[in-house]
Amino acid sequence: MAATLTIAVPSKGRLKDQAAARFEQAGMALRQIGHERGYRGSLAGLDGVEVVYISAAEIVHQLKTGRVHLGVTGEDLIRETLPDVDSTVEFLKPLGFGRADVVVAVPDCWLDVVRMADLEDVAAQFARAHGRRLRVATKYMNLTRRFFAASGVAGYRIVESVGATEATPAAGTAELIVDITTTGTTLRANHLKVLEDGLILKSQAHLFASRAASWTPDATKLRDAIAAKLSD
């Protein structure tokens, strides 16, 4: 029987474990079908729901195209990836895990840099001294562009970084970074400080609904049931 509603949950790491714990606590345990690394499953107590296990980043794309009705993923990935968030997905329920702040951080030896406004002055000075723009290492290119534009900072360029972003200023491949942090420990260990007004986004995992999926009356009922259980 074809499923009435499809829900995507992260397929690995802490997000997977935390999502499993959250759904179990809400009385609808995730059951993986087949062996340990299977990528399909069901929700205990809710017939007609198919669970698919995919990566948190891929969940954003599946929500966008409507191949899944619901998805559990981070707000940071949603806001980074989708050009028009509100017309693509609906925020159904914040889930209280996967918390991370997306922040602007600079070397802590930059005593003269405290706020975003300082960055534009530094960019001007840096261009005079080094003949090039400040480089911002990040995997959040769109969040960075929007936030820097809103803060009036223009004299920079982004270098894409997919791992160990926090090490790039010490390595000399970037001057500053935009990255996620939970406790700030990694930033401090790498001699970076968050700017006073450098918080771009307080992110956590949410249950999202796709606006592009085909919403039959039965699918809508299941969606409401899942959202209600997560609210209890």
Partner: protein, 390 residues
């Protein structure tokens, strides 16, 4: 190519042939620089606003490349490849595709692939005549494309710098204002803040350090900053030198102590930036503002008026043109006269534009500053506007 039918393609090709032929007759050698360009060159020169609209990719060798968003930088690189010493005059023309992502979606006048036809003139020391020549050829190009009704809009980046120089501001404010000139909203905020005499935060450990080193000679100040970093176990990172960090802390200290920017100075800058009108009246208005404030801007102002006179003599009706002191503030590599050709009813999308960019070639690696001026025509817009008008 945005020409998706054979008819559109033919029309664009015919227009391109006519444009290139007229540029070649004027002594401009046709060139065709690479479509794929090293990304770093563009990204360091043009800034994140065009960067975010440039198609950037990494090839299999790991090199960061881009589809050129513009032809001025590729043609400038070509000049430097041919003439590494940058010591000869050269005139080039081109017609070829350029690529820009359109965040608001594509449309016929905002295509992601478009053809830019243009001219660039390098190494000509007689800036008056080179500027006038480029504007005249751009106008002739638009006319040869079949467009008769259009308007010229001028600005002059050098005139603004002349104003800042004449105002004898503290160096740190002059640098700051000339940098923020390219970011109009931030500029007006900065000007208002300086005029209000708003001080930076005067508490906190950094203010204390800034205050301490502000009273010292630069070398001693740098030692004190080094000691502070040592005491806090903060290693130097992020490619900025001790000297750069110290310099900004000293500026901070100077801002804490200094008197506000005189209100009259802020007013003069505001008055200047508000100047807009037919070139002759606009130049008179700038002269009046300068005279009223006791400033000498005559060298730059005379240079601008000489260009206007030459254009009038070459058959362009300058009374119909506009000079706006604000114009050109979003084109960061320009350094002098800037202009665009607009069509009424075509909104903010100019048919052609250009200007002087004397700093660009040195930034691209030339061993000396090279006088440079150029113009580019947006060929799809020209064709569409000519068809609408006929």
């Amino acid at each position: 190519m945005s020409a998706e039918s054979a008819k559109e393609f033919e029309a664009l090709e015919a227009q391109a042939r006519a444009l290139l032929a007229s540029f070649a007759r004027a002594g401009y050698e046709p060139v065709a620089p690479s479509i794929i360009q090293p990304a770093g060159m563009f990204l360091d020169r043009i800034g994140e606003s065009i960067r975010s609209r440039t198609y950037v990719f990494t090839d299999l060798a790991g090199d960061e490349l881009c589809l050129r968003p513009d032809l001025t930088v590729p043609v400038s690189r070509l000049y430097l490849e041919r003439h590494p010493r940058a010591d000869v005059e050269a005139r080039y023309c081109y017609n070829g595709p350029a690529f820009r992502f359109q965040p608001q979606g594509r449309s016929p006048t905002r295509p992601r692939e478009f053809r830019q036809a243009g001219i660039e003139c390098f190494g000509v020391a007689d800036r008056d005549s080179a500027d006038a020549e480029i504007v005249r050829l751009a106008v002739e190009g638009v006319r040869s494309g079949g467009l008769k009704a259009f308007r010229l809009r001028f600005g002059d980046i050098a005139l603004f710098y002349a104003l800042l120089d004449a105002l004898s501001l503290p160096e740190r404010w002059r640098l700051k204002l000339s940098h923020y000139f390219w970011r109009p909203p931030a500029f007006h905020e900065l000007l208002a803040r300086l005029a209000r005499g708003e001080r930076p935060d005067s508490d906190g450990p950094i203010a204390a350090l800034a205050d301490k080193i502000g009273k010292e000679m630069p070398e001693r100040a740098e030692e004190l900053v080094a000691d502070y970093l040592d005491a806090q176990s903060l290693p130097l990172a992020g490619n900025r030198s001790l000297n750069e960090i110290t310099e900004r802390l000293r500026d901070h200290a100077a801002d804490l102590r200094s008197a506000p920017l005189p209100k009259e100075v802020a007013t003069v800058i505001d008055y200047y930036l508000a100047v807009s009108g037919p070139p002759k009246e606009a130049a008179e208005r700038v002269a009046m503002i300068a005279h009223g404030a006791g400033l000498d801007m005559s060298a730059s102002l005379d240079a601008l008026v000489r260009r206007f006179d030459r254009l009038q003599q070459s058959g362009i009706d300058m009374a119909q043109a506009i000079f706006a002191a604000e114009f050109g503030r979003d084109l960061e590599y320009y350094s002098g006269l800037v202009f665009q050709i607009e069509v009424p009813g075509n909104g903010a999308e100019p048919i052609a534009g250009g200007g002087r960019y004397d700093g660009l070639l040195e930034a691209l690696g030339a061993p000396r500053p090279v006088p440079a001026v150029g113009a580019a025509l947006h060929t799809e817009r020209l064709l569409a506007a000519a068809e609408r008008a006929s």
